[in-house]
């Protein structure tokens, strides 16, 4: 635990630039995550299991799966990101690292951006890489799988960024997990609509450039606004305890 806290302490002693601080936070989060590999695997397993439920629960027909597949994969990815969000600040909150982070001279929203980026690399990116396999299993055609991966690649960072706000707001509360889902799911809806809409358009043979551009706009909006909101929420939650 002490070894994990050390980089943060080093940041405080030598006042480093914002970019170096972000790098430090990112590297530390990656290191911590790779020491507890099970936490990395859990969202992925969850993703695969949720996708498995649909053929079992609804219908294994090729016609149904190939039509609903993109939506199923998107919903499953959304849920597994949601599941992993609890970890985003929880451990750092419990061992006090988060308070150190807030006390850094560097702007808090940049540090949160770095943490969120690490979260995405650890959960969103593996989900995207797993998607082609699951896409084949739900009988999506090659073109649809490619577009689906692209939308998830743009969409999952948005999920992580918006989720960071919710994770910061519910930090340290009882039943934080359920509350987090209540707060965040409504905000995820536009991403879901456009993500699945893009794949549907691609399946009909329409051009997907405009849709992808819109999703890119979501990403930019979330990148610029969400860290500020998460930083404000984090300060409130920390002053609460």
């Amino acid at each position: 635990m002490n070894a994990e806290a050390r980089p943060a302490a080093r940041l405080a002693s030598t006042s480093v630039g914002a970019l170096a601080a972000m790098k430090g936070v990112f590297a530390r989060d990656m290191r911590v995550a790779f020491r507890q590999r099970q936490d990395l695997l859990n969202p992925l397993l969850f993703f695969v299991m949720v996708v498995t439920l649909f053929p079992l629960g609804v219908s294994p027909e090729v016609s149904f799966l190939s039509e609903a597949g993109a939506g199923i994969l998107w919903v499953a990815a959304l849920l597994s990101v949601l599941l992993s969000l609890d970890h985003l600040f929880r451990h750092d909150f419990d061992d006090g690292t988060l308070e150190q982070l807030v006390l850094q001279p560097q702007p808090l929203f940049l540090l949160i951006l770095a943490k969120t980026l690490a979260h995405w690399v650890l959960t969103g990116l593996p989900l995207v890489m797993l998607t082609p396999v699951l896409g084949v299993m739900v009988h999506l055609d090659g073109n649809s799988i490619a577009v689906l991966c692209l939308t998830l690649l743009i969409g999952t960072p948005v999920l992580s960024l918006i989720g960071a706000i919710g994770a910061a707001l519910t930090l340290g509360l009882r039943s934080a997990g359920v509350l987090l889902s209540l707060l965040i799911i409504p905000l995820y809806i536009p991403v879901l609509i456009f993500g699945t809409g893009t794949v549907a358009a691609a399946a009909e043979g329409a051009s997907v450039g405009a849709y992808l551009a819109l999703m890119g706009a979501f990403l930019m909006l979330a990148l610029t606004l969400a860290p500020f909101a998460a930083a404000a929420a984090l300060r409130i939650s920390l002053s609460n305890g």
Binding site: L179, L183, L187, I193, L225
Partner: protein
């Protein structure tokens, strides 16, 4: 200017002024709502397309309109909470959120019941119904977060952040949801255009919207007063009010 601002933020000042306005708000609201509803139910002409089922509009549109404007009001108050830390602003958000939830539910319920004779089904995943449903979730989230945080001050600020995040999202949600092909008719009132309905229909509608607005004002006052009383129990003016009955 600043003095006025401080006065506006003072719970005691609000308590006094709202007590004076409340009977008028309630009486005016009930009068307008009742006349709008009775006019709409019994005297407005029948719609040539939808028949009599359209009479639901006289409560559907007011509740839907209020549900959205309450959220906007909450967002403005949330901004005030975060920027100026005005006490009254977070009292307002806390007091009004459950009212917004119920109004949104009513808008959805009346919309669904109206849908049955008009579209032949209770529920359609149409743009406006869906975005109202999401608004219901947003209200639910605000209330749940407020209940979950024990400390009053950080609850107020956390809720304010959530409300503001929600209000940034509302246009995005609306736009993305409208992306589907919609069966719903376009908005009844547009500020820039003359309503397409005959006057015998839109005048009672306007009356009931105004009436519900006033009743909402009254409800907000009552609930804010409750919240203020329980927060300011220790102050001398509350003690005087409780024991002597005036501010």
């Amino acid at each position: 200017m600043w003095q006025f601002f401080h006065k506006l933020g003072s719970p005691k000042w609000f308590f006094g002024i709202s007590t004076r306005f409340m009977p008028w708000l309630l009486a005016g609201g009930l009068l307008l709502l009742m006349s709008g509803v009775i006019w709409g139910l019994a005297f407005a002409p029948k719609d040539y397309l939808q028949g009599n089922s359209y009479r639901i509009i006289f409560i559907h549109v007011p509740t839907a309109f209020m549900a959205q404007s309450v959220y906007i009001m909450m967002a403005s108050a949330a901004l005030v909470t975060l920027v100026w830390r005005m006490k009254l602003a977070d009292v307002f958000v806390k007091a009004v959120a459950p009212v917004g939830l119920i109004l949104t539910f009513l808008a959805l319920f009346t919309g669904a019941v109206w849908g049955k004779p008009t579209w032949g089904t209770w529920w359609i995943w149409d743009a406006r119904l869906t975005s109202m449903l999401i608004l219901l979730f947003l209200y639910g989230g605000v209330i749940a977060l407020d209940r979950a945080i024990n400390d009053e001050k950080s609850a107020a600020r956390a809720v304010a952040v959530l409300v503001l995040v929600g209000v940034v999202n509302i246009p995005i949600i609306k736009y993305s949801v409208e992306w589907w092909n919609t069966l719903h008719q376009p908005a009844t009132f547009k500020l820039t255009e003359k309503p397409s309905m005959p006057a015998e229909m839109w005048v009672p509608l306007l009356l009931s919207v105004l009436g519900l607005y006033l009743i909402f004002g009254w409800l907000a006052c009552v609930r804010m007063q409750t919240e203020i009383l329980s927060r300011e129990q220790r102050t001398r003016w509350v003690k005087e009010f409780v024991t002597k009955g005036r501010v």
